[in-house]
């Protein structure tokens, strides 16, 4: 440790082209803060965007981003490389935000009773309609969804995670994840239709 503190804090220019996994490995070996800053620079905006989407408050999102990166720092040695590094970071981010919302009991309960109408809609068509939702309306609808439904839609549409990656993240079976995604989509459409006249599906 002492030797590390005396080392000049210099990271070569080649570090910019390092993969995330290489930067993590180098940070763990050298404890050079610049390797961690490399990871921070790559992911801070994505982490922040998720935090503000979930917590709906700028200051809380900045605080959460800070705490998530400290959590990442303290858990780096536990990153096994089993999943992609980005998936691992997003998993910490979603779990942190879900815990915060549950702790503050700010979650929204949306009762969805009538799924029968949506059951027959082509899933790909539903995906396209959700993805093409006007940004302002998308924000409104997401703000009215509960945190679990919102996060699973963000994992699928924003982070392009595969079903397998979502299964690993949530520690659930493939069929359970598929069902959760379907339910989340249905809730999305229900909320959209409650707010806007040009009904989806």
């Amino acid at each position: 440790m002492i030797i590390n503190l005396l080392n000049p804090i210099i990271v070569s220019s080649s570090s910019k082209t390092m993969t995330d996994e290489e930067a993590v490995e180098q940070y763990l070996i050298t404890q050079n803060v610049n390797y961690f800053n490399l990871i921070y620079d790559r992911y801070t905006n994505k982490v922040y965007a998720k935090c503000i989407s979930m917590l709906k408050d700028n200051e809380a999102a900045e605080d959460a981003t800070q705490e998530i990166f400290v959590k990442i720092l303290l858990s780096l040695s536990r990153f096994t490389g089993k999943s992609k590094f980005s998936t691992w970071i997003y998993s910490i981010t979603y779990n942190y935000c879900i815990d915060m919302i549950r702790r503050d009991k700010k979650d929204i309960e949306v009762a969805v009773n009538d799924f029968s109408r949506i059951d027959h809609v082509d899933d790909n068509l539903l995906d396209a309609e959700i993805l093409e939702t006007n940004i302002f309306r998308l924000k409104v609808v997401l703000n009215h969804m509960n945190v679990e439904d919102k996060s699973i839609l963000m994992m699928k549409y924003q982070d392009d995670l595969s079903i397998r990656e979502i299964c690993e993240m949530l520690n659930k079976t493939e069929s359970a994840v598929k069902m959760k995604i379907l339910r989340a989509k249905e809730k999305f459409i229900k909320i959209y239709n409650e707010h806007y006249n040009d009904k989806v599906s």
Binding site: M1, I2, L5, Q31, V33, F36, N37, Y40, D41, T44, N45, K46, Y48, A49, I52, S53, N58, E62, T65, Q66, F69, V70, L73, L74, A128, L131, E132, T133, N134, I135, L138, K139, L142, L153, M154, Y157, Q158
Partner: protein
């Protein structure tokens, strides 16, 4: 290319973030500095604390000859 307004929303949020990025980076770096400081203290002093505890437990005490049979 297919429209994905989830990604557009993410980009919009990032654009609106402003200087929060640098402030948060500074705070994270000060946390890293603090953790490094604590681990340095532990590296330096933990072995000494071990030595003190050993000496308190009487490791270097001369065996009492009267106890020998």
């Amino acid at each position: 290319m297919a429209v994905n307004n989830f990604k557009e929303l993410e980009n919009q949020i990032i654009e609106e973030r402003g200087s929060g990025d640098e402030d948060t980076k500074r705070k994270v770096n000060s946390n890293i500095g603090f953790f490094n400081f604590i681990s340095t203290l532990i590296d330096l002093y933990l072995p000494k604390v071990g030595d003190v505890l050993k000496s308190m437990a009487g490791e270097n005490e001369v065996p009492n000859k009267n106890n020998k049979k």
